[in-house]
Symmetry: C2
Subunit: 150 residues, 2 copies
Amino acid sequence: MAETNVEWLTPKEMATRCGISPETLRYYEQEGLLNVVARNAGNQRRYDADDVAWVEVLRCLRVTALPIRELKRFAELVRQGNDGLAGRIDLLKAHRREVLAQRRALDGALKMIAHKIDVYAQQLDSVPPVDTHGMNTTPTLRGQGVRRAL
Amino acid sequence: MAETNVEWLTPKEMATRCGISPETLRYYEQEGLLNVVARNAGNQRRYDADDVAWVEVLRCLRVTALPIRELKRFAELVRQGNDGLAGRIDLLKAHRREVLAQRRALDGALKMIAHKIDVYAQQLDSVPPVDTHGMNTTPTLRGQGVRRAL
DNA sequence: GCTTGACCCGAAGTGCACTCCAGGTTGTCT
DNA sequence: AGACAACCTGGAGTGCACTTCGGGTCAAGC
């Protein structure tokens, strides 16, 4: 295993390159996400540059929480060639909407986290009265069946 | 169930308010994420504004993929009051790093998705030669044991 | 040619985060 | 008072995405 700049990659090399374990790569293949990976004379997998490119696409979609089921659908649409083109565009556009929503959620959470860190940091160097941060430490009976307006 | 502006919320109302099912809320409570929720005389849960605030924090952390295990740790640190303050800051700072990494991944993926959509759209109104997008449709034998350099 | 590590396969197992179920109680409405 | 929804509990079940296992094959260095 001296050469690295070659025409194909072994499963292990592929795993390192793509950041996906060989087992997962086999799993993806068996789920029909990869379509026919080439083999050598001894039946061992040989991944090529196209495989790498495709797996990178899959990884992008996976890390943005596209379920395997959808990846399958996408792979199927690719297999259909031009017939699947419109479907692929639809799928990607729908997913993009999802990802944009995720990013909004992330940004909201980041704001909240930053705020909490600030508040905590201030408390840390002023050793203030205890802040329970919304967690009840002293449960009380509330609501005996009749509602009291605020 | 005419009143809505009251001092407490039933499980169902709480679920609607927080976007988390009553079952999940019970599950969180039982996992020690919520600490002692108040009950009415008939043993039914009554969530108050503090509960809402805290669950919103939990939800922020969960949607950014903080595992339940960490939420538990965080809740425990809150329970410890000032003794847990430093730990809470550490936890949130570590998580913030994670979330920032997530956002970078998201942005990378968005770029890729946008690019693919462009490429596909162009193909769509030019009906070009088939693009397999890195998926092998015609497997070939490669590598009989001897490596060929590129 | 023998060892050692990488690889093959199908099948079973794992961890996470819920989600549902059965059987019983409570609350509200008419 | 009767009907009906919402609630309670402990425990079992689900879906997802891997991950591990067992038993065998392959390949590269000494």
